[in-house]
């Protein structure tokens, strides 16, 4: 039976070779991620522990805990992210619900409408709000002519402008998963609830809403995580008054060339992001959201 045993060796080699060759197709992509993301970020992690005098020190992190300006930045970042997420939920959930109740053709039309801003450049959208919200901008002009207020309001270069811009940018991120979850809810559940005696309101809150929460959670999570690290919109619409962690990182490098401080902030931001994602992965099927991976 030596012939059979020899085949075992050869077969094993064949299998390994095939596996490697297939996996190898992914190697350029993996290499790129390693070289441009993992290694540099790892290096930044290392740099964050180097003080102004070039030796190992915790001063970058201590600065974050001590200085009041840093505390304010973290608070602002969380505030903006939470407010953005909350507003997106308040506005996006009803819209998603509306879409889920439409016949497919109309729903798809609405979906295109929701996704349209998605395809437009972030910068263009932010700029559009800048123009609309300025003192002599469209919103003020129309509001005054409609008699809503008398003096032009400062709608931009502050928290309000930032929030308006960010909600506008983030809404599609919330609507898509929620809409997807809603669409997947079997209509028969609602019929059963009605049949068992539930009023429309009761049926909604006890049957429909709970079934839509996974999508809602996924969407809210995405909005929150994206808002934490967001740069462009707060930088443009905040006018220097709304300083988020990302902006501080940029100014640390551009203005002060303080790599230690910048990378320490970056590490904290990264840890926060990963932390939030990890907590969420306990509750969600990550692969449902991205639709990738195996099985």
């Amino acid at each position: 039976m030596t012939a059979t045993d020899m085949n075992a060796e050869g077969l094993r080699r064949d299998e390994q070779l095939e596996r490697l060759r297939l996996f190898g197709l992914a190697s350029p992509a993996l290499l790129l991620v390693l070289v441009i993301l993992v290694i540099p970020v790892g290096w930044l992690f290392y740099v964050s522990f180097i003080g102004a005098d070039g030796t190992f020190s915790m001063e970058n992190y201590e600065r974050m805990l001590k200085r009041k300006s840093y505390a304010r930045i973290f608070r602002t970042t969380f505030e903006v992210s939470l407010l953005t997420t909350g507003l997106c939920i308040l506005i996006g959930y009803p819209l998603a619900y509306f879409m889920s109740q439409l016949p497919t053709r109309w729903a798809n039309l609405c979906l295109i409408t929701v996704l349209l801003p998605f395809w437009t450049s972030l910068l263009v959208r932010t700029y559009a709000w800048l123009v609309l919200l300025q003192k002599r901008g469209l919103v003020n002009d129309w509001a005054i002519s409609l008699g809503l207020w008398d003096e032009p309001l400062k709608l931009v270069h502050n928290l309000n402008g930032t929030l308006i811009g960010m909600v506008h940018i983030m809404l599609p991120f919330l609507i898509l998963p929620v809409y997807g979850a809603m669409r997947a809810i079997d209509r028969d559940y609602l019929k059963a609830a009605a049949n068992l005696g539930a009023s429309p309101r009761r049926a909604f809150w006890t049957v429909f809403f709970p079934l839509s929460t996974p999508g809602l959670f996924a969407g809210a999570l995405m909005v929150f995580v994206l808002s934490l690290g967001f740069f462009v919109t707060p930088a443009v619409l905040g006018g220097g008054k709304v300083i988020m962690v990302s902006m501080k990182i940029v100014s640390n490098i551009e203005l002060f060339v303080n790599w230690g401080a910048a990378s320490a902030l970056g590490v904290v931001l990264l840890v926060l992001t990963i932390g939030v994602l990890w907590i969420a992965s306990r509750f969600l099927n990550f692969e449902q959201m991205t639709g990738g991976g195996h099985g």
Partner: protein, 359 residues
């Protein structure tokens, strides 16, 4: 398109494990040249795995596989030159019927004119002559089935593999296709290995059947041998319906449900035996049965009208429930004993089959 030199298949010692599970456990098998052999078994039995090993899509842990005299176990699928029909046809939707059927010929760099001719011939063989220009989504299930078949034979392979090709069709179509496939095999003569879980299909179409379970071949025999003399309980149970009675041995006498058994069949050399009782072999007897007949006392539990036959369920003395199937003529049904009544069931000695009690 006759195939004078169909190849025999030799399988030796093929084992495939997934972790601790043996999908195939040291399987050896000889498929004769030009034979129609069916791998029959329940899902998870390993029959599909074995077919995939033959095709080259599943690499076993060890073993030898020969097509004729060539060792092919390490050959990739595209070099094995076997025709294969998949369960869901796997037709290419972005090509026409002719495009699909001509694909293997284009791969083999056959001249364009010859491709067209051979494609048409293949389509005619499966009774789809002239369908070349149709798109795949315009075809019915049965037609897709035939296109898949045409595609797998157009390059004249010497071995044909089929993975439950009829399971997606409705019953009437399936029955008809079984006969057509059988005719096709007789016409083309290529060695065919067919996988199914439907025992009736296997019995209808095969020259020989390999009953598979737990990654092993439980019995390899002709349909008739499998039905009449199963070698173990699994095969007996899987093919046809039957009830089993425990048989006790005392000295030379074999007893089941209180009746001493007379049999003209071979008695397997095993410590534990079971008596196989097929519904159509059992019959109702009067008080004075003839010789060479085993009689069992039973109480009727249920009567079922089945149109062309009846099913009478009865409980034997030891509690086992058996079924008796009989043909129906005018007045038969009303003349049957009612539930609660006692009956005597007879089993001819020639039909008294004993099998080993394992597997």
């Amino acid at each position: 398109m006759t195939n004078q030199d169909a190849l025999p298949i030799t399988v030796r010692g093929v084992t495939k494990t997934y972790g601790d599970v043996f999908a195939l456990d040291d399987v050896s098998l000889d498929v004769k040249s030009g034979e129609f052999l069916t791998l029959l078994g329940p899902s998870g039995s390993g029959k599909t795995t074995l077919l995939m090993v033959l095709a080259g899509f599943t690499r076993p842990d060890r073993g030898s596989l020969k097509f004729g005299t060539d060792e092919v176990i390490r050959k990739p699928p595209h070099l094995r030159d076997v025709g294969m029909v998949f369960q869901n046809y796997a037709l290419f939707p972005h090509m026409t019927v002719a495009g699909n059927v001509g694909y293997p010929l284009r791969l083999r760099k056959v001249a364009k004119a010859e491709i067209a001719e051979r494609v048409e011939r293949a389509l005619e063989t499966v009774q789809l002559g002239g369908y070349g220009d149709r798109r795949i989504d315009q075809l019915s299930g049965g037609q897709k089935q035939r296109v898949a078949l045409a595609r797998s034979i157009v390059f004249e392979p010497r071995i044909l593999l089929m993975d439950e090709p009829l399971s997606a069709l409705d019953k009437k179509l399936r029955d008809r296709m079984q006969i057509e496939l059988r005719h096709l095999h007789e016409k083309l003569g290529m060695t065919t290995v067919y996988v199914t879980h439907d025992q009736r299909e296997a019995l209808t179409m095969s020259d020989r059947i390999a009953v598979v379970n737990f990654g092993r071949i439980m019995q390899l025999a002709t349909p008739q041998e499998l039905y009449e003399q199963p070698e173990n309980k699994f095969v007996a149970d899987f093919i046809g319906d039957s009830a089993f009675l425990d048989v006790t041995r005392s000295g030379d006498t074999l007893t089941a449900a209180g009746t001493a058994l007379r049999t003209s069949r071979a008695i397997p050399d095993a410590p534990d035996l079971a008596l196989m009782m097929r519904p159509e072999r059992l019959h109702l007897v009067s008080d004075k049965p003839g010789k060479d007949k085993n009689v069992f006392d039973a109480t009727v539990t249920e009567l079922v009208y089945q149109g062309e036959s009846y099913l009478l369920y009865a409980q034997l003395g030891d509690g086992t429930e058996v079924a008796v199937r009989g043909a129906m003529r005018a007045g038969t049904y009303t003349g049957l004993p009612q539930p609660g009544g006692t009956v005597k069931l007879g089993l001819d000695a020639a039909d008294t089959v004993l099998i080993a009690h394992e597997g």
